[in-house]
Amino acid sequence: MKFLPPKQLIVDIVAAIFIGLFTYTAVMKWRHLHRFIRSLQQVPIMHETAPVLAGFIPAVELGIAMLLFFPGTRTIGLLLATVLMLVFTGYVLFILTTMGQLPCSCGGIIEQMTWKQHLVFNAALVAMGAAGWYQQNRTKSLLQ
């Protein structure tokens, strides 16, 4: 049996974590769509666009999960996953600094985190995604 090189295995694990996370949160958001729309509507700047965003965000998450699933598109998938997590982290920061009382609309068990825990969780995922993307890029350039 041929083993994957450790660094490549790490990239694959990072990709798998993002696949699992995005699939889970997208399914949970769509399962409780009305609740998700209501929680987005509580943020003044998103009040009007909440129904569109409620469909769009899980679609983006699933799209990125699909990109991560296939080895050929994993590099772009890791980049987009990191960017998306950066956007989510920005949103968490915005909520923390403006209206910390709002419930999180993140989907599933992740909603049970406090905003501060969420910020740390997101920051860790951003770092993990960036490291995974960097490693994937390096491996690719070494193979070329």
Partner: protein
Amino acid sequence: MDMKKYVLGMIAVILAISFSAFTTAKKAKATEGSYYWYPVKPNSSDIDHTALINPTSAKYTKSELDGLDLIPCPEHSGTDCMRGFDDVQTTDNDDTPEDFTQKEVQ
């Protein structure tokens, strides 16, 4: 196609869908502070109905209500504490005696 490349991804998808199937939405718990309490006597006409609409104009204070021996206010409540119902209260409780209304009339 080398299926080994997809194993981790497939495991992740299966786990995600399985977890989502067993996760239920957390219902917002109503805390004591979510409500105003309105103690009133049933069928009495001495209810200040404006208090039911505007809690800040509640008729009784907490200490007054404690003295009235009605349903007690929660400890945390401030000066506005009344309990009221606009409609007749019904119950699904089978243990409720059938002649409950008659007893009240007698």
